[in-house]
């Protein structure tokens, strides 16, 4: 199972084994990691699972879909070049060790 480290805005970090095929959002929500909300359950509808992806992993991410592109413009916290919706990041072996940082707010 790929490991994902979630770093809260306050600096607290947690590493979770996310089952392969699950999204990074699901790994967080199922385990009650605060800072990722995901009101829509991963349908790319709500922009409340916004994360900043550690630069080292950026080129291993899937390309940003048109849908995600639009939703990223609607995040509550500032959009940065490494902003992604965590529901659109699959936990795959290539991303083992992934580090994501949560913004200060999602809504």
């Amino acid at each position: 199972m790929p490991k994902v480290t979630y770093i809260a805005y306050t600096g607290e970090s947690q590493t979770i084994d996310v089952p392969a095929g699950y999204s990074v959002m699901e790994g967080a929500v199922r385990n009650g990691i605060e800072g990722i909300v995901a009101e829509c359950g991963g349908a790319c509808m709500c922009a409340t699972c916004h994360v900043y992806v550690d630069e080292a992993f950026l080129d291993r991410l899937p390309p940003i879909s048109e849908e995600q592109e639009e939703m990223l413009n609607a995040t509550a916290a500032e959009r940065k070049p490494n902003s992604r919706l965590s529901c659109q990041i699959p936990a795959i072996p290539e991303l083992d060790g992934l580090i994501v940082r949560m913004p200060d707010r999602q809504t």
Binding site: Y22, V29, R30, C40, G41, A43, E69, E70, N73, A74
Partner: protein, 413 residues
């Protein structure tokens, strides 16, 4: 020790209310009572990826079970509340157990409206995971599927069955599809989409009887059907509230703070009827509505959690909704009911457009077909109370996002 908050209903509204209370620092007991056995799970995928076998059952729960322990949220699943005593502030379960509360949240949802026809027991409905499993099981071997009801659920079911290669007929009693939610422009668009995908759609068609392998229509014709699915609307679960002496109209009646006449009892989600500032179906704003959507469930849950921790802010969130059918993502923002004018932005032929709705020149709502940016911009425009004109909406060179950015902060609709 305080009795804390008791939430009746283990759907998305109930689960979100519990989570939101903890996020806001509420530290008294929270008990969530649901009549299904599973802990709270997502319903939207049941008619989409879950039905197609693309989403594993393990991924349906909204939270892992350990989450509830960690957050000290009590779960009483597979339990039914039979009475509420608002004077003694306690409720009774079918098992006989009596449970006290300080604050009570009714998130009791709705149930499927049963078909009033002969042979109705042969039809399957979709609301719960168990029902989705039953449909999945039969869908595998079915060759022909009849879907009774051309609303969102019916059409999502039709699209899923068609994707699995079934022969699909949608039988709708009204003159057009999704008539309660969208205007004729969109009904006609979806009619064409389904037809082009090979779904047969019968409008103005009634069902006389569901036979073992066919549906007999009002005009005497038959349609072969190994499997009959029905989605003809829901009935809100208001009985418990009514027995407790609370007012009922289209749902459990609550005020703009989502409170019933009893200040310690709230109602949220599919079961609640409340004044919505975005509704202008008749002359005034703030008409009373009952909405069935994830957005409504989640945002109302958060609003009630805020009241309970002592904030006093009315429910004011922009209604939004989505449905996926074939390659169409359809997104609605605002409430278009009562509009007197509409314009189209984009190109209907290429299946990428939005319809913008106005009433007496005032911008009400927009429906978007594969136009994610429009949808998000409209949600922000409505939240900020920013007006756009029909001319601006139609003009693709007019940047809706810039209109949002130009909005002075703090304006309300």
């Amino acid at each position: 020790m305080p009795a804390g908050v008791v939430i009746i209903g283990g759907g998305q509204a109930g689960a979100e209310a519990a989570s939101a209370l903890r996020v806001l620092g509420y530290d008294a007991p929270i008990l969530l009572i649901g009549d299904e056995l599973q802990p709270p799970y997502q319903r939207p995928p049941l008619s989409k990826d879950y039905l197609l076998g693309k989403l594993d059952a393990a991924r349906l729960p909204l939270r892992a079970e350990a989450y509830y322990d960690k957050q000290k949220i009590g779960l009483l699943m597979g339990q039914r509340v039979i009475t509420i005593d608002p004077h003694m502030k306690r409720l009774r379960l079918k098992s006989g157990a009596v449970i006290p509360y300080d604050r009570l949240i009714l998130a009791v949802g709705a149930r499927n409206r049963p078909l009033p026809v002969k042979g109705a027991e042969r039809a399957l409905y979709l609301r719960t995971r168990d029902e989705a499993d039953a449909i999945r099981e039969q869908l595998g071997s079915a060759q022909s599927v009849a879907v009774i009801g051309g609303g969102f659920i019916g059409l999502e079911l039709a699209a899923a069955a068609r994707k699995l290669g079934k022969q699909v007929t949608v039988i709708e009693a009204g003159p057009r599809l999704m008539a309660r939610a969208v205007p004729p422009l969109l009904s006609n668009f979806f009619f064409d989409v389904h037809r082009s995908e090979g779904v047969e759609i019968l409008l103005g068609a009634t069902v006389e009887e569901i036979e073992p392998d066919a549906v007999r229509l009002g005009d005497g014709n038959r349609r072969a059907a190994d499997l009959v699915l029905a989605g003809i609307g829901v009935i809100p679960n208001t009985e418990l509230a009514e027995d407790a002496g609370l007012a009922i109209a289209k749902g459990i009646v609550v005020d703009e703070f989502l409170r019933t006449a009893d200040p310690d009892i709230f109602a949220i989600g599919d079961c609640a009827e409340y004044p919505n500032i975005f509704s202008r179906a008749n002359a005034t704003s703030g008409e009373r509505v009952r909405l069935e959507s994830v957005q409504n469930a989640v945002d109302q849950a958060k609003c009630v959690a805020r009241q309970i921790v002592g904030e006093r802010a009315p429910y004011r969130d922009v209604p939004w909704f989505w449905t996926d059918q074939f390659d169409i993502r359809f997104q609605m923002a605002g409430l278009s009911s009562g509009h007197d004018h509409s314009v189209v932005r984009g190109d209907m032929e290429s299946r990428k457009f939005s319809a913008f709705y106005f009433k007496q020149g005032r911008f009400l709502a927009a429906d978007s077909v594969n136009r994610f940016g429009d949808h998000i911009a409209v949600r922000k425009l409505l939240a900020a109370g920013t007006q756009v004109t029909p001319e601006q909406a139609m003009d693709e060179s007019f940047d809706l996002r810039r209109a949002v950015d130009a909005t002075p902060a703090g304006r309300t609709p």
